[in-house]
Structures are given as structure tokens and as C-alpha cells.
């Protein structure tokens, strides 16, 4: 496919890489430019004696460069890609030099090895079934006792009243949270820490805190009678508490085949852990999916999913009620530009769908929403707070911290457009726009 410079730059890890990559997208920096169906490559003279060998696997895209940079993709990769997009004539159709062929070969090998390893791991686990079930049993016990303690703490909280909670020291929240981590229930620990955040969230904090506390209580009650619940709800409760699915095993199950359109991407950073949420939707199944990537500190995030593109793939969903999270089991085509995207609805329909999702899974925190026919308007009492309004006057509020309200307004010009974003139950965080036949990535 023909990548646009905009899409290429959306892969950039930071602003300085964008800048440097942009500067390197000039012919005078490069020698030995070449390409074929699968890859593009070139030599870039850096400050060292030997030029850097830079190459791109165009099918995903994936990058490799011999420079010492720890950024990914590095500025040379970005520069080469931008040059390819702007002046493809400079790249001669050529035979891959050995250093390109080796890398592409090793990528295929690695993928095969990974599959092998997964299969082996599952086999070994079968052999080790006894020890494993013992481990699982121990964990159940620990979680159970952790939940008992948590329940007492929650009961204390409302006996004494929430008023005291706002001024409670950090330890008040941190102690139960770290106990829950020790008891192997990291999901619950996160919820307790969110309660600490809610207690400090300014006006209306009591309501937000109490809402979270009662959902936590609901979870404890659910776990107590887990056996009596439908299997999907069981799976959901276990995953909220913090049991992780074995991804290798998951990847062995069969998934959903479709053409997946990438609608938006958001990266959030917390305690040096970066989480990248990529939202997609199936063209045929109209099924939304969320693919997560994590990276610690300065580690690079996956860059192979570019908003505004689509690809054929098999996706495996994590089990649970109202499943959203998925793994890409196998890509079956190269990425291609999306001309139009499926799945948009009006605000009223989107809210109904959200209510239905909540009915299946009370602990759901984010759902994707693609709203069509909405006009961004500021609130009459505050021109820096924004709503999306449909033709009947129904409106969905945007998140306070979302910085692009004026940008949305400018793109719409006061006319209805299509906006995709994350809905957290109260506010929408826009991630992409479609207007006048153009797809605009906001992240």
C-alpha cells in the first residue's frame, strides 16, 4: 500500500524522533536505496565511519537499523520510510542485499519458533498438570483470604463514613492495595488505588468514591458465589480480580476471521508503564476489538497497527461477558488504507449499546463509540468544555482533559461529522475523525 507521511509519522516514538526523521528524509543522506514487494532499504551516513543499514518490512510495517539508538523506530527508519513515501522513484527495484534477506528470513523463523514454543509450553503444562493444579489451588486460597480482608476494610469504610476518607493518609489506601498484590489479586489492587484517586478528585468525590467501592463490593459478592454464575460472568470476574489468561493457550483456540479496520489508538502512561490501546472493528462481524500493548520505561511500543488502515486477520478474544480484548492470532494480508469505516451509530443507539454492555459486565471501564452525525459544540456556560450534539439536541460530553475541542470544532465547521472515541461511562475521549472523506487520527 502507499503509506502517507502522516501515517508514518504516527509511528514516531517522540517529537525529537519526528523532527530528526523528517530531516533525514532527504536524498543527500542516503546511498544504496532499494526496494522490492516486501521491503525497502538504504544506507545512511551517520557520525560513525560505517553507514547505518536501515530497512523496513513493508507488510506490517516493521523496522531494523544498525544504529545504536534505543528508540523504535529510530530516526533513520522514519527518514527512510518518509523518503519512500515522498520520492519512491529514488528506490530502485532490486534484489535484496544479504543483510536485508537475512533479517526478513529471521523474522519468518522467529514467528515459526514462537508458534513452536507455544505448542511446547502447552504440552509441558499438560505433563506438569499435577504441580500446576496445586499452584492454582494455592492461588485460589490466597485470593479468597485477600477478598475476606478487603470486605472487612470496605465494611469499616461505610461504618465510619466516607467523610473521613478524604483526609486519610496515603497509607490508608496503599496498605490494602499492596496486600492485594501480595495475595495475587492485582486487578483489585488497582481498583483500590483508583478509589484513592477518586477521594482526591475534587467536587463530587464522595459519589465517585462510593460508586467504585460498591462495584468492588459487588465483585466480592460475585466471587463468593462464583460457581452459581454463568461461565462468561465467572471468566469476567476472575479477570477483573487479576487472573490472567494464558495467552499461549488462548492463541491455540480458534478466533474470529474478518477484515479489521483500525479506528483509533491511545497511549497512556502510568508509573513508567506505557499502555497502548488499539481499537478496531470487523467489517463483516461489526465486532469491536481492543488490542493492548505494554512497554516499560523507554521500551518501544508495537507500531504495526496504524489508525485509518485495515487488514485481514484472525483475532482471538479473551473470554468473558461482553468480550472486547483480543489478540491478533494471524495476519492474513498487508495493511491497506481504509476508505470508509463501519459501525457508526447515533448517540442514542450508542448509549443503548453501552447499557446493554453494562448489563453483561458491570465492571466494564471503557467501550468504543463511533458516533455519526454529531456536531462539536461548547457548553453555553463554559466555552472550553465540549459536547457532541446530534440533530435532535441529544449530547455526549467530552472528557475535561481532552485538549482538542477547538480542533474538532474547526474540522466540523459547525456541521455534523463522525467521531470515534473511548467512552468511560461519563465522557468521551475522541481518537479519530471522519469528515469530507478524510480520516484524521487525533492521537
Amino acid at each position: 500500500m502507499n503509506w502517507t507521511a502522516e501515517q508514518i509519522l504516527s509511528l514516531s516514538p517522540d517529537a525529537s524522533s519526528t523532527k530528526a526523521g523528517q530531516s533525514l528524509a532527504a536524498e543527500r543522506h542516503w546511498r544504496g536505496l532499494g526496494c522490492d514487494q516486501r521491503a525497502a532499504w538504504g544506507l545512511c551516513q551517520g557520525s560513525g565511519k560505517e553507514p547505518y543499514r536501515t530497512q523496513i518490512d513493508l507488510s506490517e510495517p516493521a523496522f531494523r537499523c544498525s544504529c545504536p539508538s534505543r528508540k523504535f523506530p529510530c530516526k533513520h527508519g522514519l527518514g527512510l520510510f518518509l523518503l519512500l513515501a515522498a520520492q519512491s522513484k529514488l528506490f530502485k527495484e532490486a534484489e535484496q542485499p544479504p543483510w536485508v534477506g537475512e533479517w526478513l528470513g529471521s523474522r519468518v523463523d522467529r514467528a515459526e519458533k514462537r508458534a513452536e514454543k507455544q505448542a511446547r509450553a502447552i504440552e509441558e503444562r499438560g505433563v506438569d498438570a499435577v504441580a500446576q493444579s496445586k499452584r492454582a489451588e494455592r492461588r485460589e486460597e490466597r485470593v479468597k483470604s485477600g477478598l475476606q480482608e478487603l470486605e472487612l476494610w470496605l465494611r469499616d469504610l461505610v461504618r465510619q463514613g466516607l467523610a473521613a476518607a478524604q483526609t486519610a493518609p496515603q497509607q490508608f489506601w496503599e496498605r490494602p492495595a499492596s496486600r492485594l498484590v501480595d495475595d495475587q489479586a492485582p486487578g483489585l489492587a488497582r481498583m483500590v488505588r483508583e478509589m484513592a484517586g477518586a477521594a482526591q478528585s475534587g467536587e463530587g468525590w464522595q459519589s465517585r468514591l462510593f460508586e467504585r467501592a460498591s462495584l468492588l463490593y459487588l465483585l466480592i459478592e460475585g466471587y463468593k458465589r462464583l460457581g452459581s454464575l454463568p461461565l462468561e460472568t465467572q471468566a469476567r470476574i476472575r479477570s477483573v480480580i487479576g487472573w490472567t489468561e494464558n495467552q499461549d493457550e488462548l492463541l491455540q483456540t480458534s478466533g474470529v476471521h474478518d477484515r479489521w479496520v483500525i479506528l483509533g489508538r491511545r497511549i497512556v502512561e502510568e508509573d513508567r508503564l506505557k499502555t497502548q490501546r488499539t481499537w478496531m472493528i470487523g467489517r463483516e462481524t461489526k465486532r469491536p476489538a481492543l488490542v493492548l500493548h505494554f512497554a516499560n520505561g523507554s521500551q518501544p511500543l508495537d507500531v504495526s497497527f496504524v489508525p485509518g488502515t485495515e487488514f485481514d486477520a484472525e483475532l482471538v478474544f479473551f473470554p468473558g461477558a461482553y468480550p472486547l480484548r483480543a489478540l491478533v492470532k494471524e495476519r492474513k494480508s498487508e495493511a491497506a488504507l481504509s476508505i470508509d469505516t463501519p459501525g457508526e451509530t447515533g448517540i442514542a443507539c450508542a448509549f443503548q449499546a453501552y447499557a446493554a454492555a453494562l448489563g453483561q459486565n458491570p465492571w466494564i471501564d471503557l467501550v468504543p463509540m463511533a458516533l455519526k452525525g454529531v456536531t462539536p459544540v461548547f457548553r453555553s456556560d463554559d466555552r472550553e468544555r465540549w459536547l457532541l450534539r446530534d440533530s435532535s439536541g441529544v449530547a455526549a460530553p467530552l472528557a475535561f482533559q481532552f485538549p482538542g475541542g477547538w480542533q474538532l470544532a474547526s474540522i466540523s465547521g459547525g456541521r455534523p461529522i463522525t467521531i470515534f472515541g473511548e467512552w468511560d461511562g461519563d465522557h468521551l475521549w475522541p481518537l479519530s475523525i471522519q469528515s469530507e472523506g478524510r480520516f484524521l487520527n487525533l492521537s
Partner: protein, 502 residues
């Protein structure tokens, strides 16, 4: 919401102080409440809360937007810029060569494009602080940009002055000054009427500021108003008015000044020996002279009081008085002044007069013959129209293509702000090529700045040639960083123009 608030209230006060019994409700929620066991107080409270919270979130009443949305923006009349140019703008707004924005916007408007919608808010925010962006931005806003600016008062500067006359009454100081300055450039008479309509109510400081804008589009029609401003009770207003009047050779003030000065200079032709200018200093500085803007105290002790008065008076006398009165050419006058004891006084006064009256003949003769161009006389060079500035620079480059620091040419380069002509750009590129070949430049501290200046100003049509001719002879040395930045800058500008011009 009431239901939730009731349950919430109990949780805030605490069950130790207030017992909880589930509220009576009808429907599914009521049935659920009925099942709660009130003996387990905390359990019942949490149970009711969880159910109510979910019930309300799922059945969330949709927000109704009460205010009607603003009218949509009018259909565009100009095309959106090409996508590659839109992306470049996005990068520039992220901090990549941001200072090239005026050039970028100017290029868009020359091609008849408008700026891309998604970047308009960032551009408007930037132009709030960077005033130099406002004019070029105003030409590429399109309907969308004007519509957007009409929604936020911080951006009212972007709306045409014609639509913004009301601002003169209601705007902030900043907005009012900007309005009057723009209007003076387009319609000086209307600007003057606007100013007169509120003149009596302005503070002295504002009067001075507003009057300053009259240097744009000044004409004899302004004289009565300026003459009346000579009686203002603030000194700075009077001085500004006098200076403006001295740009109008036919004005009464110029006539008064001419009458005062004529007897003080005598031009005598000698048959043998040289022509001579004899100078008599004025005896006193009366109220009338002070009204016409003459200041009593000299700015430095190097100049006597009376000499200072005469210098100021000369600056306010039409220059043709001297050529017509004496029958001498400008060259002859300057040559004679050069030999006079009062040389500095005469040249300084005439330089000021030439700059104010935009008298090209006098300026050029003064610059080439009379005075040595230094920062003190920068106003003289700057008062030349930009084309003449560049011609002047081009002449001096042709005489000597070397660009050494501390050389006058470097200072002239810094001052040439209008887009450089192709000719001048080429001459500078040739000079750079000579230096790059010799490599004799690396030690000069002013050199990175000079490269930057040339990289920034070189005419777009000459950029490609600049890159190829200079990089062909330049051998990377310790100046590598500066040259890399230079090439990056040129390449960026080249691509920028190519994307816009297709």
C-alpha cells in the same frame, strides 16, 4: 439522582451514626431492594448502592444540549492546501522550524490556498502572542478560520478590520492598537475619523501609541489633525506629531521650520578654492520652536545645546529647500558639508530629514558618500524601500564577495527583512561557495548565525542550486554542525515550497 443521593448521604455520615434501610422503590430496582437483608447493614448499603449506580449508568438520561449550535461556517471559496503541505504545517506547529511559519503562510496565500482546518486552532493560539503571524494568517484563514475566530474573543484579531469597527469602542488596548494600525494601511482617512471620534477620551499614553500608527499612509489630509496634536499636553504626543508633520513638506510646520533655518545656513560659491557652507547657530529656543517638537536638552554632552537645536530643525526642513535655494546639486552640498566644521551636525540632521521624507536621492548619496554606515545611521538604510536596500547590498557584494564578520555587509544582511530577490540570493550563495571551498571560515564566531540567516532568507528558486553548489565544494570539518543545520533548513524550505507550488 435523588435515590443515589439518599444512599450516598448515609455512606458519608457513616452507619455508626445513621442506620440504613433500603428506600422503597417500584419496579425491578424495588424488587431488588426488597431482597436486601437490613440486618447486614453494610451489605445492604453496598448492595443498594451497586444496583442503583448501575441502574442509573445504564439508564443514563441523555444530556440535552439547550443552546442551539452556532450557525455553520459559510462554504469555502478557496481550496484547502495539498495534504503534504497540511502535514508539514502540523510538524511546524509541533516545534519543527516553527519560525518559518510566516513564510509558509505567505506561500499558501500566494497560491490561493487556505490553511487546513485541523491546524487552525493551533495557528490562532500561536498568533495571539506572535503578532508577526497575524497578517499572513489572516490571508489563509478561509471561511472556516473566520467562523472559528468569531466564536472566541481571544481570536478577534483574526476577523477583518471591516467587521471589527465595533472593537474600536469596546476592544482591549491591544485590539484597538492593532485595529488602527491595520486600518491606517488600508484606509487612512477612515482610521483618522475613528481616532478623532474618541481622541478626547484617550489616556495620554494611548494617544501617543495611537498617533504612532499614523506613519502608515500619511498624507496632507492628516495635517490639520496632526497640527492640533502639537498642542497636546503630553510631550511624547507633541514630539510624535511634529515628527509626522516633518514628513509632509507642504505642511505649515515645515514652512515655519524653513523660515527659522534658512538664515542660519549660507551657501557660498568660491571661484577659487572650494564651495563652503557657513553655519550660524540659533540664538534661542522659544515656545514656538518647542511646540514644533524641538527638544531643549541634547541626548549626550558631546553636542552643544544650540547645535542640538539646529540638528533637530534641519531634520524638519524639506530637503528641496537646500538644492533649490542654493542651486547646488546634492553631491555638491554633501561635499561642502564634509569640509565644514559642523559636518556631524549637518549630516545627522539631513540624514534624519532624508529618512523621514523618504528622499531616495539624498539617502543614497549620504550612504555612499557622506557618512560611514554604522548602527547609529541604521535608520537611514532601513528607510530605503526594500528593493533599494537589496540593490545597495548587491553592489557592495559585487565589489567584494567576501563575507567576513564585523564587515558592514553582515549588518546589512541582518537588516534586509523583505523577501530577498533571486539576484541577491544568488550573490550570497556564490560568496558562501567561495568560503566553503576555501574552508577559511570555521573559526569565525559569527559564522553559524550568518549561515542561518542566508538559509532562512535565500529565494526559494535558488535553494536547490545552493544545496548542490555548496555541498559539492564543502568538506566537513569542525563546522559540520552549522552546515548540517544550514542544509536541513534549506531542504525544509525547499520541500515546503515544492509541496505548496506543486
Amino acid at each position: 439522582m435523588e435515590l443515589w443521593d439518599e444512599i450516598l448521604r448515609t455512606s458519608i455520615i457513616g452507619l455508626e451514626r445513621q442506620a440504613f434501610s433500603p428506600p422503597t422503590e417500584s419496579g425491578a430496582l424495588g424488587e431488588f431492594f426488597a431482597k436486601l437483608d437490613s440486618r447486614d447493614q453494610e451489605g445492604a448499603l453496598y448492595g443498594a448502592a451497586a444496583a442503583t449506580s448501575l441502574y442509573q449508568r445504564a439508564g443514563r438520561l441523555l444530556l440535552k444540549s439547550t443552546a442551539p449550535p452556532p450557525d455553520p461556517s459559510a462554504p469555502e471559496e478557496t481550496p484547502r492546501c495539498p495534504e503534504s503541505a497540511a502535514l508539514r504545517l502540523k510538524l511546524m506547529l509541533q516545534g519543527h522550524f516553527t519560525d518559518l511559519l510566516p513564510e509558509y503562510l505567505e506561500a499558501l496565500s500566494q497560491k490561493g490556498y487556505r490553511a487546513p482546518e485541523e491546524s487552525l486552532p493551533s495557528l490562532l493560539i500561536l498568533a495571539q502572542d506572535k503578532r508577526e503571524l497575524r497578517f499572513p494568517l489572516s490571508k489563509v484563514l478561509g471561511m472556516r478560520g473566520r467562523w472559528l475566530a468569531s466564536l472566541k474573543s481571544d481570536w478577534s484579531f483574526a476577523i477583518d478590520a471591516a467587521e471589527g469597527d465595533g472593537l474600536w469602542e469596546t476592544g482591549t488596548r491591544e485590539q484597538r492598537f492593532a485595529l488602527i494600525e491595520n486600518l491606517r494601511k488600508k484606509d487612512p482617512a477612515r482610521a483618522r475619523d475613528l481616532v478623532r471620534s474618541t481622541w478626547g477620551q484617550e489616556t495620554p499614553k494611548d494617544r501617543e501609541e495611537i498617533l504612532g500608527a499614523f506613519k502608515h499612509g500619511i498624507s496632507p489630509a492628516d495635517e490639520p489633525f496632526l497640527e492640533s496634536a502639537l498642542d497636546d499636553n503630553r510631550k511624547d504626543v507633541r514630539r510624535t506629531a511634529a515628527e509626522l508633520l516633518s514628513r509632509l513638506p507642504e505642511s505649515a510646520m515645515c514652512r515655519r521650520m524653513t523660515e527659522r533655518v534658512l538664515p542660519l545656513l549660507r551657501f557660498s560659491r568660491k571661484m577659487l578654492g572650494r564651495d563652503k557652507i557657513e553655519v550660524t547657530l540659533p540664538a534661542e529656543c522659544g515656545k514656538e520652536m518647542m511646540r514644533d517638537g524641538i527638544e531643549l536638552k541634547p541626548p549626550s554632552s558631546a553636542l552643544g545645546e544650540k547645535a542640538w537645536w539646529l540638528q533637530q530643525m534641519l531634520a524638519a526642513v524639506p530637503l528641496k529647500v537646500w538644492t533649490e535655494g542654493s542651486g547646488w546639486t546634492v553631491d555638491e552640498i554633501i561635499a561642502a558639508a564634509d569640509r565644514c566644521d559642523w559636518k556631524i551636525l549637518l549630516l545627522a540632521g539631513w540624514a534624519q530629514a532624508a529618512a523621514r521624507q523618504r528622499d531616495l536621492q539624498w539617502i543614497e548619496i549620504l550612504l555612499t558618500g557622506g557618512i560611514e554606515l554604522n548602527e547609529q545611521y541604521s535608520f537611514l538604510y532601513l528607510s530605503l524601500p526594500s528593493l533599494h536596500q537589496q540593490q545597495f547590498l548587491l553592489h557592495s557584494l559585487r565589489a567584494d564577495p567576501a563575507l567576513t564578520p564585523a564587515h558592514q555587509k553582515l549588518w546589512l544582511l541582518e537588516s534586509c527583512d523583505a523577501p530577498w530577490s533571486e539576484e541577491l540570493s544568488q550573490a550570497l550563495i556564490d560568496s558562501l561557495t567561495i568560503h566553503a571551498r576555501k574552508g577559511d571560515w570555521t573559526a569565525d564566531y559569527g559564522f553559524p548565525g550568518l549561515l542561518n540567516r542566508i538559509g532562512r532568507m535565500a529565494h526559494p528558486n535558488r535553494i536547490q542550486q545552493a544545496i548542490s553548489s555548496i555541498s559539492a565544494v564543502w568538506k566537513p570539518g569542525e563546522d559540520r554542525g552549522a552546515f548540517d543545520r544550514f542544509f536541513d533548513l534549506l531542504q525544509f524550505r525547499y520541500d515546503m515550497h515544492k509541496e505548496i507550488h506543486g
